[in-house]
Amino acid sequence: MDTLANLGLGFGVALTAANLGYCFIGVLLGTLVGVLPGLGPVASVAMLLPITFVLPPASALIMLSGIYYGAQYGGSTTAILVNIPGESSSVVTAIDGYKMARMGRAGPALGIAALGSFFAGCVSTVAIAFFAPALAEVALRFGPAEYFALMVFGLIAAIVLASGSLVKAVAMVVLGLLLGLVGADVNSGVPRYGFGIPELTDGIGFIPLTMALFGIAEVARNLESLETRSVGVQAIGRVLPSLADIRQSMGSILRGTALGSVLGILPGGGALLASFASYSLEKKVARPPRTFGEGDIRGVAGPESANNAGAQTSFIPMITLGIPSNPTMALMIGAMMIQGVAPGPQIMTEKPDLFWGLIASMWVGNLMLLVLNLPLVGIWIRLLRIPYRMLFPAILVFCMIGVYSASNSLFDIYLTAALTLLGYVLIKLDCEPAPLILGFILGPLMEENLRRALLISRGDATVFVTQPISLGFLVAAVLLVAVLVMPAVRKTRDEALQE
């Protein structure tokens, strides 16, 4: 069977000694950085990106995805132990997980999170192996008009989940698109918005932008507001959940995995939506329901499985369509482009070793996480005690050297400073930077598809609404916005995001 042969090829790539090593380093570094206070998966991946540049593309991607789920797991660890979710997708984990920790059941909470994540990882790896080729097949038939419409829809769907104002999120996407257009136009070679600065001919660097927005601007915000909190860590107890725990969580893990796998594929889905949806589902189906919020293990098992499944299946639209469904996927696309690999449906036929190697490595990485985290949890806890005043200079150093090493250009250091200022101002004005990075990645791609679509239709802009697939995407985008603007939906969304 084809898929099996392909998976075989993938494991052939993922199980080479070198790639196993990179996967291991990625998972380890990812967890390490993800556990550190104030650093979520996006910041972790951004900061560790430059390390992967020296690697060949397949190894680099394997290591980066290792970093990603490592960081995700690290975020859940802090959510459970100290009630500080590393990122929004582990917010719901903190609700029951931290309660469990306060009751002296931190160990089983961590254990079930790891087991659930591993199970979800296995299932979603298989889901990717079967689903991604099918989606790529469909996408291969897309013309430029369909692609353009798909990107519009993808961007809209992705920001629907951004907390806060929808108008601001759309504005941030547009600003990101614009920043992505800075530099020489691909077709005519005309330098745009360079203001005579030769370094800007190549455009605004992806690394300076991400380091500035997700690294240093975040540090500036934290320094202002973060109190020097003393982190009280609960005793862990035994890590392995008891048989009764596992029996109780079984249903939640299965439901979470299914829900997460499906939601991850949707543009705008991924880990965040998956974990929230799973938590409310568990709350609904649980008998008796009262124990939720009081340290119910199902409230950890469900969302943790769901967010890992979602995190993984969100690779499907990223790699087959080149559409990032969340900022981390935008970083992955950026990393691929730096490696000279263009994500898209052609990747499966052109670079099967890279694609299937990455998929196989996901399973390997999940296994490593399981083996690594349970025994090493003691070390992670010690990392939690590192005070922020020692941590942020290290972030600063890492970002600066990362920026320089990506381009060997001093200009990029000053550019990072300027973008940090921009990011800080935007954060202060309640404009979240996540949508901006999505737009930034898609800017040049959207322009190219717009250009081609109009070229083919001889300048007839109605091509976007006369082609059925393109029309479908645009209608879906409009519907999404319309639904969100409706007051009732708005309220539930705000409540759900606040919960």
Binding site: S165, L175, S188, R192, V219, L410, T420
Partner: protein
Amino acid sequence: MRIKSPKDLGAGFLFLVLGGGFAALAPGYSLGTPARIGPGFFPFLLGLILAGLGLVILARAVAVNGEPLPATDVRPLGKLLLAMCLFGVLLRPLGLVGSIVVLVLVGGWAGRDFRLKEAVLLAAGLAIASAILFVQGLGVPLPLWPKL
């Protein structure tokens, strides 16, 4: 007219200016024709959209109540930016080790409870670690020490 949401006012104004700026410069890069759009076309379109969204947010600022501007202390940010620029200036003449020490000391000063002794130790540790990881390990072409 009373400003009900200062944050929206700031954001709307920023988007209006940025969008307007992008749109204003775009025709200079040639808009082209519909069938062959020029390098200025897409930025022009996006600039107008951004400016429009800026106006919407501005309108909201006077119509809908919002949060007041947060108490802002720009000193940490200023010190971070200063540290970054110093790092850029010093990196080539001073070498990696020296410029990291400056980066950590000036950057660390942005923190709330800056302790000199601790910062010096941290600077030394980070300088050594980055020298080993980036220059030795990853082969980033950077001088470690000042050129004499």
